[in-house]
């Protein structure tokens, strides 16, 4: 992967969180916290910022060094392999669950006669193409597409202003303080970009700007999460937010845009498809990068086909054999906390080891 500049890095990190925010987490936050969703969003945003800052501070002694190299420094090649595999599993799972959710939604709304496996196949082929493009093509495409998706999110919020029921934010504490601030902390998984941040420094053209890049991207992700959650919570009651469709899509159907375009949900679908492709491209390339690092394969491109097959298998497996609700509400959260804790522990140990070495 070629080195990327700060703006590209920010767009990548935002895109990583955006996929999870739009398709999974906003709905979970709204259904779990109800009227206190916005407070919960603000709370987890603060935690995310803090977590990002901690990662950046821990990275200060390892500017421009890959996370897996730091792991190797801490515990040798074996630990590098284990940690790499754990992160790989997390990223593949994230990809699979987002894809699964998006495809299910598409099937319900537009393609009831099409088996979801075919739709997944289309996305997987896209991921394969994105993996095989040269010169960071997927990355530059993301840089162009992310602003469009952000504008779409703001547009949905602004377009629905007159449909908002501001009473929905009361009572302020929703299901209670415990649900908002303690159980609600688990919603931190929406910031998938934090896991991506761990793998960012070695790709930056200016590693010294790592902290600002990370903080800015987390801040923008927080704002987007707030807008998405606000749109959902101010428009719908619990019945809608806990449904199968992702509520942001339903929110678009309420937008009235003159007499020419009767309903804009199809246009939203187009933008969201592009966002999923972008999300797939980033995560797939990240996964291939991790595989390359833990296996020392010089040319990873041929392996991309095996990877996308694995992704395809994972997605249809989740879709067919597991309860999607359980996977996204519980397993995904646990997995996120495991990998982030693992990342933090590795960084802390690396810092301690470096201190000891100096002494």
């Amino acid at each position: 992967m070629e080195k990327i500049n700060n703006k590209e890095a920010i767009s990548l990190t935002i895109s990583c969180s955006l996929g999870i925010t739009v398709f999974i987490s906003s709905q979970i936050i709204a259904s779990e916290c109800l009227s206190s969703s916005l407070i919960n969003t603000g709370f987890i945003s603060l935690i995310a910022m803090g977590l990002t800052a901690i990662i950046c501070i821990l990275y200060k002694k390892f500017i421009g060094i890959s996370f897996l190299d730091i792991t190797e420094f801490v515990g040798g090649k074996f630990l590098k392999f284990i940690v790499g595999t754990a992160f790989l599993f997390y990223f593949i799972f994230t990809l699979a669950i987002v894809l699964c959710k998006a495809v299910n939604c598409l099937q319900i709304v537009y393609y009831p006669m099409t088996h979801p496996n075919y739709t997944v196949l289309l996305f997987v082929i896209t991921a394969a193409i994105a993996c095989n493009l040269k010169n960071n093509g997927f990355l530059r495409a993301t840089f162009i597409l992310v602003p469009i998706v952000i504008v779409a999110i703001f547009f949905i919020f602004a377009g629905n202003l007159k449909n908002f029921n501001y009473e929905n934010i009361f009572p302020l504490m929703g299901n209670g303080v415990k649900a908002t601030f303690i159980e609600g902390t688990t919603n931190l998984f929406t910031f998938g970009g934090i896991a991506y941040i761990l793998f960012l420094p070695q790709n930056l053209k200016r590693p010294d700007k790592f902290m600002s890049v990370s903080l800015i991207s987390t801040a923008i992700s927080s704002i987007l999460l707030t807008f998405v959650t606000a749109t959902i919570i101010l428009m719908f009651n619990k019945n809608v937010t806990s449904g199968q469709l992702f509520p942001l899509y339903i929110a678009v159907r309420y937008i009235e845009f003159g007499t020419f375009f009767q309903r804009l949900d199809s246009a939203f679908l187009l933008i969201m498809n592009i966002a999923i492709c972008s999300f797939l491209g980033i995560y797939s390339n990240l996964c291939l990068g991790i595989i390359k690092e833990i296996t020392n394969i010089s040319d990873i491109k041929p392996l991309s086909y095996c990877f996308v097959l694995l992704l395809y298998a994972s997605t249809i497996l989740i879709d067919a054999k597991f309860e999607l609700e359980f996977m996204q509400n519980i397993f995904f959260k646990i997995l996120f906390f495991c990998v982030i804790s693992l990342g933090l522990i590795i960084l802390i140990l690396a810092n301690l080891k470096k201190e000891f070495q100096h002494e």
Binding site: Y110, L133, L139, F143, L145, F260, Q262, D265, L269, L270
Partner: protein
């Protein structure tokens, strides 16, 4: 009928012509084209050699003029070798043959002024060079490789007995097209000059417009057999050194037999195949080339072709018209917006139409949807068939219009568009709304200023149509991402194709839109020019001083 023949077997004598595989022979021929031989002192040997190389027994336009040259009271055999039609006969008669064939008086005249006597008469070659051929562009050559190449490009060569050099006289005089108005890249307010086929005329056009000694024009020959002259032009003090080195490296490492056009060269030097997306800008306008060179780009000219190649080129260049810089920024940017809309329509409208009508009918207001349905009521074909039929018909009309003589071309377009379209609707083969869709798409494709770029959009349009038909906006969304990612993965001579939009290196990059001329203080940073600043912060000093 001969009855005997009925019962008699005779093997058939078939005339069976097959071109034999000449793989080895080709290699040998190619090798033998590299003429290492030098000019011999024996005139006869030189004559035989060059006669064999030019196949003088077969070639009718090759002229060998044998004559005797008198010098220092001695008679030397000599011959002139040139190709009829490529040289200026009058010049050869007056300034080559006449002085050479006249009895040299000066060698006898002892009372000549001392200045003339200073010429080194001991060297026979120098004597001919300095005294006998009054020509401004004359050189002494020893390599047959160079001599033959120059003869092919219109020079006249003199061989003299006892001399192991030949005199290469630039006596070109072939007929050529004069400088005319641009055929494709027309502008209203800008210069009205276009390149011609002759490379020297083209370089002079550039030199005249650049008007700066830092303009470098390097000649490079491409083609083992054709030895086509190409010129790499750039501003020495602006263009990035690495870019020029890379351009020279690519141009000097092309192993082909012949190069006829700049289109061929474009394919040979571009970074990769890139799925048909043009990577190098081709233009017939010298002013566009000069502007590019002042930005820090390089220009490649090919002899025999009225198009120059500009390297590196980015996507926004293909959507820019030469008119843009001549207009007020407001108008230029308005046109740029129109072009951007045209790009989206050309690429996506048929696909979108088919996606909306097949999958996402809710996007349209009910009344419009009804009218579409009513219009399609009597059409027996599926919408994809209708659309492809009309698109292919449109392409046929366009191609037919191009290939027919210009007098009939426009008529063909009108006949095709009006009569065929109207007849198709009347016969219920297609719906009227589809005619509108195809017509708008066709019109939009004409708005794209660059032919190659427009062409790639035309081809990709069919892919988007099929994607829209298969899975609606899902397919189109995936298509847009793949198309965009593909475009983003392209590099043109080390520059990202989507520069300066992505990667966005710095704040002062010139983006898609044209800023006012006084605000264009910096050159495009993606070109990494030697001089970043192109004008003072206050370019209009008259305003500031007052």
């Amino acid at each position: 009928m001969n009855i005997k023949k009925i019962f008699k077997y005779e093997p058939q004598h078939k005339y069976d012509f097959n071109i034999q595989s000449t793989e080895n022979a080709t290699v040998q021929d190619l090798n033998s084209e590299k003429l290492d031989q030098k000019v011999n002192m024996s005139l006869q040997e030189n004559l035989e050699f060059i006669q064999s190389k030019f196949n003088t027994l077969i070639s009718s336009d090759v002229v060998i003029r044998k004559f005797s040259l008198i010098c220092k009271n001695q008679k030397y055999k000599a011959f002139l070798f040139f190709i009829d039609g490529m040289t200026d006969s009058v010049n050869i008669n007056h300034f080559v043959l006449k002085p050479l064939m006249q009895r040299n008086q000066q060698s006898k005249n002892k009372s000549a002024p001392p200045k003339t006597r200073q010429i080194n008469l001991s060297s026979f070659a120098n004597y001919i060079y300095n005294r006998l051929i009054p020509y401004n562009n004359l050189s002494q050559e020893t390599e047959f490789d160079k001599i033959i190449s120059d003869i092919n490009s219109g020079n006249c060569v003199l061989f003299v007995d006892t001399l192991n050099i030949a005199f290469d006289i630039d006596a070109k005089g072939f007929k050529q097209r004069s400088i005319e108005r641009p055929q494709i890249e027309n502008v209203i307010k800008g210069p009205q000059e276009a390149f011609v086929e002759n490379i020297r005329t083209n370089t002079s056009l550039l030199r005249r417009l650049v008007n700066n000694q830092n303009l470098i024009i390097e000649n490079i020959e491409i083609g083992e057999l054709s030895k086509t002259k190409c010129a790499l032009c750039y501003m020495q003090n602006i263009a990035n050194g690495d870019l020029i080195t890379e351009a020279k490296f690519r141009l000097n490492n092309i192993s082909i037999d012949s190069l006829i056009s700049s289109g061929e060269l474009e394919q040979l030097i571009q970074d990769g195949p890139s799925a048909g997306i043009p990577q190098i800008l081709s233009t017939e306008r010298p002013d566009k080339c000069v502007k590019a060179m002042y930005q820090g780009r390089a220009v490649i000219l090919v002899n025999g072709n009225p198009y120059a190649l500009i390297i590196p080129s980015v996507m926004t260049d293909f959507l820019a018209s030469p008119e843009d810089s001549n207009l007020v920024p407001l108008f230029a940017n308005f046109l740029k917006v129109i072009r951007l809309i045209a790009l989206i329509i050309t690429l996506l409208l048929p696909g979108m139409y088919i996606a909306v009508t097949n999958f996402h009918q809710e996007l349209f207001p009910t009344e419009l949807l009804f009218s579409i349905l009513v219009a399609r009521e009597n059409v027996p074909f599926p919408i994809i068939f209708e659309l492809l039929l009309m698109e292919v018909s449109f392409e046929l009309i366009r191609e037919g219009g191009l290939r027919t003589p210009s007098a009939i071309g426009s008529t063909l377009g009108i006949v095709g568009a009006l009569i065929l379209g109207d007849a198709a609707v009347s016969a219920n083969v297609v719906s009227p709304i589809l005619i509108i869709v195809v017509a708008i798409t066709g019109l939009s494709s004409f708005v794209i200023p660059n032919f190659s770029f427009g062409f790639h959009l035309r081809v990709y349009r069919f892919i988007f149509t099929i994607l829209g038909y298969i899975c609606g906006f899902l397919g189109i969304g995936i298509g847009i991402y793949v198309y965009l990612a593909t475009i983003c993965s392209i590099k043109s001579f080390g520059v990202a194709y989507v520069s300066p939009i992505s990667p966005n290196i710095s704040g002062f990059s010139l983006k898609y839109f044209v800023p006012p001329f006084w605000k264009q203080e910096y050159r495009n940073d993606f070109l990494a020019p030697k001089k970043q600043v192109s004008q003072d912060k206050y370019s209009m000093k008259w305003k500031k001083n007052n």
